[in-house]
Amino acid sequence: MSYQGKFRVWRGDDSGGALEDFTVEVNEGEVVLDIIHRLQATQAPDLAVRWNCKAGKCGSCSAEINGRPRLLCMTRMSVFQESETITVTPMRTFPIIRDLVTDVSFNYTKAREVPSFAPPKDLAPGEYRMQQVDVERSQEFRKCIECFLCQNTCHVVRDHEENKEAFSGPRFLMRVAELEMHPLDTADRVDQAQDDHGLGYCNITKCCSEVCPEHIHITDNALIPMKERVADRKYDPVVWLGNKLFRRS
């Protein structure tokens, strides 16, 4: 059942680095993270990798495997040929710290810029009433494990450092949508999405949905509906005329 697998792992830091070749034992049922751990234990004790739950629930071990953004703990070795060389590199969109570990602080900065849940003032704790069908829309987005693979793959920022300032990325545009669709949130988030978080940069190529390990329909269920709400508000000619005439801001 075991075989010697061929791996190329990027090693280095912010001053530079290169792919290093390893030959390492692979056993039945293992995932790529198991192999990285075996490398640490036997050949490269200081190989840096982030991980935590090893069950696809925490979103720590994001990287790129043969160029595809994936969780190391949810990528089974059985999807590869035994003869194949497997290349593991850090996420490309974020600055390198060391080896497979990147500086993901961009995401925490963006998270802070989304105004928080604004509960209704007249409801005391315990008085919240919501229907299952209404909470399900936002619940889908709250499945997000913040692995940031969607942020990593999004072409708006992947090779365009200059867009990072204005664009929050799919994860946080989805957070805006989640709050907008929360049955009890009282804030208006439509203008924010466009003006503060750069929803307009998204041109719905759906790369984010494709790499999402939680299979959240980021584009279809979060981004497109938000774009529709923005369009209704900003670009509907009747609304536009109404705003002009009655000076609604």
Partner: protein
């Protein structure tokens, strides 16, 4: 020597899981400058792994539920060894803590009338667990994380700085607590990313570091669970209680080998899943202990009727407390009736329609499909016991979370007493919130009442730095990965789910040798994000805590909850009155007996006398 980074706060919270974040929110809302220090990224703490739900007697699914019923269930689950005051506070305050999460933005699954839905779980008399499918822990952690962000946004509005009163130091490890005389004065640690050292000066420290599962080979716990808080507390002079009680969750994955131990939520059984052996028999009917005979169905027909009519039927035995189910599975496997990979079968596919399984248990469906090629809507799962939770921890004052060391507080899994000898499923998330909040308030009160602020002695820094750097000084010493594997194997084999005196003595001998070898660990490379070095430092904590577990387990000559002695198979009412207290000094770990505080009489009155007779001595009953 590079300049030491220094910070000063009112309250340090070590750990960013449910307890740590709730404590930080409370301390900050009391107006104190608060820092959260956590080993992983913010939002990745082990709390995300909690699946089934959060226990709170809100009475949404069954109006008969109330705090007294929850209190009774908790005491029964813990075999009456629980700190009764903690169990009381927990049962009373859990509903408020859950409702509060909704005001932070949490979205629980709903009942038909729009309230929070509640599901059945092992040991809980009524459907009591608020949940979001089977990813409740993720909802809890994200909600608290977002509440922290919202408090930071408030500060930004007020002071122009997000971090004015609440700052998160992520990927940061604390290696030592500092004291000024007998009082806490701060903490020393390093940035995992750069390896640079930092000193925090603070009069109050709240430990919220979780458990110790990484000392065992088969565990549902992540790498973070190295007993840091347990060890920090001991080295600072605080005591641990109940360390012999380790919960082996009955259902962990057993195949493939690389995922062995990963949790399979109890909700599978709460929602109708049944356990079968290789003969296809629902074996749990053979394992209902005497103390639970009147509460659990002894035949399949009644057990199956219970899901629809709980008033007139007894519960299925698959929903016995976790310790009972784990032991039963262990026995079946030992008797040769196990599944091909050494577990038993957990089947929900013949019990619920496929669509319903996908809706109620989405992450289990996902986990088995992706990691084991098993479709749980069509096939049974293979499951077996996995080290899941430590009931033992820092001995604290129930109301404030204060340890015996002034300024040192603890909440959540790192504290001891609340769950007695065995924790009920769902009682962990509520524990985190109830006692996280109380520790935050306790620390705030302590800081407010302080006269002079304690200071950190300079030699604490010098010593802590030298200890942390030692693995780089040695050459040709031991590999930390090798030592860790040997420790895990020893604890698993010798102080595991079924224990014997001889094996535990052997474990203690092995631990002595491991401690000796751990004095000369060698790590390669430099301090920047170096996992070998991180493990070398965590090992020190694991070894100390493992010694407590083994020593206490050897002393307790009875079987109770998460402590099963093959050589002392019976529960002994005399032992219920005793706690085993662990402390450490230069001479090593000491374990001493201490009398348990008698249960308050109005709480005792909540039970039938016939039930109390099963747990209490004649002297206590008279």
């Amino acid at each position: 020597m590079p300049e030491l980074e220094r910070h000063s706060f009112d309250v340090l919270v070590i750990g960013a899981g449910g307890a740590g974040l709730r404590a930080a929110i409370e301390a900050r809302e009391h107006g104190l400058r608060t820092a959260v220090l956590c080993k992983s990224l913010f939002g990745k703490a082990h709390t995300v792994m909690a699946e089934g739900g959060i226990a709170a007697a809100m009475g949404n699914a069954n109006e008969s539920d109330n705090w007294q019923v929850h209190f009774r269930d908790t005491m029964r689950g813990g075999k009456f060894l629980n700190n009764w005051r903690m169990a009381e506070l927990h049962a009373q305050e859990a509903p408020q803590r859950v409702w509060e999460l909704e005001t932070y933005g949490a979205l629980f699954d709903r009942t038909k009338d729009g309230r929070i839905s509640q599901r059945n779980f092992g040991g809980h008399e009524y459907p009591r667990l608020a949940h979001v499918g089977d990813r409740t822990g993720l909802e809890l952690i994200r909600t608290l994380q977002q509440k922290i962000v919202s408090l930071q946004q408030d500060d930004f509005k007020e002071f122009g700085d997000y971090e004015e009163r609440l700052r998160v130091f992520q990927e940061f490890t604390v290696t030592e607590l500092a004291k000024d005389g007998d009082r806490i004065s701060g903490a020393f640690g390093y940035w995992r990313e750069s390896g640079r050292f930092v000193l925090f000066e603070a009069p109050a420290v709240i430990l919220a570091t979780g458990g110790i599962g990484k000392s065992f080979k088969v565990t549902s716990n992540s790498w973070e669970y190295t007993g840091d808080g347990h060890a920090l507390a001991m080295r600072a002079g605080a005591s641990l209680i109940n360390m012999e009680f380790i919960q082996f969750h009955p259902t962990g994955m057993v195949w493939p080998p690389s995922v062995k131990g990963i949790l399979v939520t109890e909700s599978v059984r709460g929602d109708g899943g049944v356990l079968r052996n290789s003969d296809g028999k629902r074996f749990m009917f053979d394992y209902i202990p005497e103390v639970f005979k009147d509460k659990y169905a002894d035949n399949e027909a009644e057990a199956d009727r219970w899901y629809a009519d709980q008033a007139n039927n007894r519960r299925p035995p698959e929903l016995l407390p976790r310790d009972e189910v784990a032991r039963a599975i262990n026995s079946e496997v030992k008797a040769g009736r196990g599944s091909p990979h050494g577990g038993v079968f957990l089947d929900v596919s013949t019990r619920l329609p496929a669509e319903e399984i996908r809706r109620r248990l989405p992450s289990m469906h996902h986990q088995f499909k992706e990691l084991a090629d098993v479709d749980i809507t069509a096939q049974p799962m293979e499951v077996g016991p996995t080290c899941h939770y430590v009931m033992g921890g820092v001995e604290v004052d129930p109301d404030t979370g204060s340890s015996s060391v002034p300024g040192l507080f603890a909440a959540g899994e790192v504290s001891g007493g609340m769950h007695g000898s065995n924790r009920l499923g769902g009682n962990s998330l509520s524990d985190l919130l109830v006692f996280g909040r109380r520790a935050g308030a306790g620390a705030a009160e302590y800081v407010r009442a302080l006269g002079d602020r304690p200071v950190v002695p300079e030699d604490t820094v010098t010593e802590a730095r030298a200890t942390a750097l030692k693995p780089f000084q040695e050459e040709g010493g031991e590999n930390p990965y090798t030592l860790h594997m040997e420790l895990q194997q020893s604890m698993n084999d010798l102080v595991g789910i079924i224990r014997r005196a001889g094996e535990m003595e052997e474990a203690l001998q092995r631990l002595e040798k491991l401690k000796e070898r751990a004095r000369s660990l060698t790590v390669e490379g430099h301090q920047q994000f170096n996992p070998g070095w991180h493990l070398a430092l965590d090992l020190r904590n694991m070894l100390l805590v493992s010694e407590c577990v083994a020593k206490a387990a050897l002393l307790r000559t009875e079987s109770r909850g998460g402590h099963t002695r093959d050589d002392h198979p019976v529960m002994d009412a005399e032992w219920r009155r005793k706690l085993l207290v662990c402390t450490t000094s230069d001479e090593g770990v000491r374990v001493e007996e201490k009398p348990q505080i008698p249960i308050r009489s109005d709480l005792l009155d909540l039970f039938e006398r016939t039930e109390l007779e099963k747990y209490l001595t004649a002297e206590e009953l008279s």
